[in-house]
Symmetry: D2
Subunit: 232 residues, 4 copies
């Protein structure tokens, strides 16, 4: 029976990359995203790569939708991995006119992460499976105009580090992936050189290898940087 | 004219310690807490120490109360420091029956921190003042059964590190204080040796010294540990 | 033409594991160690695994031997990787009767690392190759009775992090590998459960995968921990 | 009886600043430096500040001189603090023509630090005293063209962190001070704005306060940054 991974943020970027890679290795992919059309593209690409795929459209800021997605993902009785790539980027100064946006960011990035984890944890534990969280250097650095973003990235990292202590005895891995600048469709084409960024396949290869190790070992942190400047 | 500090969590522990120390150095203290009676004790102790004190009772999980407190604190037109000690400790396994408690923790620890900061930032900027956030080793470590606590402590640290980049040019300090095990009233007396913990006056002395430096220098991080084992 | 890796500390443990893994993937291995007989075993094992292997016996504390090894390793004109696993463990209290041992540790761990790197850097740069340094959690933590060990592990990590900034533009990777407790022959069998430690093949797999990425991406840090307690 | 501090690198900069501050608070200062004339200036300045001072001229790269200095410093039977400010800055690419300079750096920065610590440890332990090591951000970051410098700063930090675990039970403090850009005489006047750097008195104030705490608490790390840009 194929291993199954729930991959959030799989309608593009790192999540789609992970879907294609694991799909090509025979995993059954549960692809989450917000946009139905993009998810159907992911589904088709996973099939072309040799895998099978189901899709879930959900807003990560909607806790009922998160619960429903987790319920569907765990219903078949087998879930081997949660690859959590969905994110929301929050930019700007600390200011009282940003509260609504911050609330949304907190819900999408922090509440969704911890709730989704809690929902699928029994199934992942049953499978002695893996949690993979895509984080990044803002989980240990403070950047100007990124106070909320840094807060939420730090939070994800803190959560994942502690989660490993909770679940290691049960054979469940927890891997924090810290990519630098990645060549994703959301990167703006304002003169940037995409060939000097981390490529999606590079991250996917490392993730797939980490979660395929026999579970004597857990890759707890994995930091990737663009080989060449100017990107961090 | 006396310098003024808004100190959250001042009804006991580190917050009250900071209130007494700054009060004794001539600061006017705006003491926040949840319990009116404990705040009145703080007020009296600050007076005995030679300072002046006003009190604000507010639930940090109530964003309207946070806004109201900030409005009162900035109304007189002078606010030199926010010493943010209010906290909520979240303990336990990652589990779906904990969501209500987590929501409360997120509100009290993260939303309250970032909103209160945003509310008072214009006044602190005007005063070329200081932000001090009490954090701790769970802001960089992951501890078993502390996943939400670690997430929220990491979040505070990430927020503070980035905030410094935003405000340093304006002469506003941001200091992260990381105490290990502190002798506070909330520590359980189950055979613990309080004399081997960090004492409140030790932290207060370091905070008071840091924010009194001429503002060529910002003490960005300050880590304190109990001198003797067994506490971390 | 086969890729070539100089692997130090290849007479056992992580170094031998890396030699077998890369050998099995078609690399030509230059295996360094102190003991000739153990090196011959490594050589034979690499051949069985499908690779080719040469051996260099050298004391890492002897800077002339380090230079001679580097000269031999770079003589054929091709060197694609230095996998630096040779180590010396230094245990004990800080005391004036330990100076001779510390001097040896400094030579073997720090001077050897930076000199060997400098010697082979032109060849690695020519090949757009990779440096891999085996380090560990003592490169960021302080452990009781490990002051010199922690100093030297920190030093290696600091060197590697800075080296990446020097060479990234030339397409040279620098990877820090931080394994927790590894099942190596040097582990004492005093009731320890080897099945609960990191296995050599797990590390080798991650290293081999990291250095085989197309060089748009550098895996700068890779932290591995034993999945199950009690080991760190 | 006055407390006594051995301060290395006290002929200028941070070391001299610490000498003046502690001297003004009534400490007896043992001022180490390389240059006799500069040390005499420090001695005179300490006296003007109200303290007493002896001087030791020694090359930190000369292990016999380090031992002799330690012997003189501990001879009177009382040593309350080692404030270790002496440093050597190592800049440049990783290259085989730098070995002599690196050897000198290793001796001056690493061997001198650990040996001096070992020599004075019994006296400091007797006094339940303090070790203070001036380090900096290169003890956790990797900077281009600073590979050896980063290695040695990391090493000092690793040593100090572990040392605290060794000596905390004996009431001996170990404090790592991480200043950013400091206004010292060695800073080049190539258009730099000294008023935007950390001032010596700021660091000295924080050090003096940390080591004067009752020894229930140890300030293990203290990070200072210039308040305003452009310096790190």
């Amino acid at each position: 029976m194929a291993k199954t991974a729930l991959i959030t943020g799989a309608s593009s970027g790192i999540g789609r990359g992970a879907a294609l890679k694991l799909g090509s290795e025979g995993w059954h992919i549960l692809a989450h995203g917000r946009r139905e059309d993009a998810l159907r593209e992911t589904e088709e690409l996973v099939r072309v790569a040799g895998g099978t795929c189901e899709t879930f459209a959900a807003e990560m800021g909607d806790m009922d939708a998160v619960a429903a997605m987790a319920e569907r993902a765990t219903a078949p009785g087998r879930l081997d991995a949660l690859i959590h790539c969905a994110a929301k980027f929050t930019y700007g100064a600390v200011s009282t006119d940003r509260f609504a946006d911050w609330d949304l960011s907190i819900d999408q990035v922090l509440r969704a992460t911890i709730r989704l984890t809690a929902h699928v944890l029994p199934a992942i534990r049953e499978a002695e499976g893996a949690f993979v969280y895509i984080c990044g250097p803002t989980s240990w650095l403070g950047w100007k105009n990124h106070a909320i973003h840094c807060a939420l990235r730090h939070a994800q990292a803190g959560f994942a580090k502690a989660l490993f202590e909770d679940v290691r005895e049960d054979g469940v891995r927890v891997t924090l992936v810290h990519p630098g600048f990645v060549n994703t469709p959301t990167v703006k084409d304002d003169g940037k050189d995409r060939s000097r960024m981390i490529q999606l396949d590079d991250i996917s290869t490392m993730i797939a290898t980490a979660i395929a190790l026999p579970n004597t070992t857990c890759v707890t942190e994995l930091t990737l940087r663009p080989q060449r400047s100017p990107y961090i």
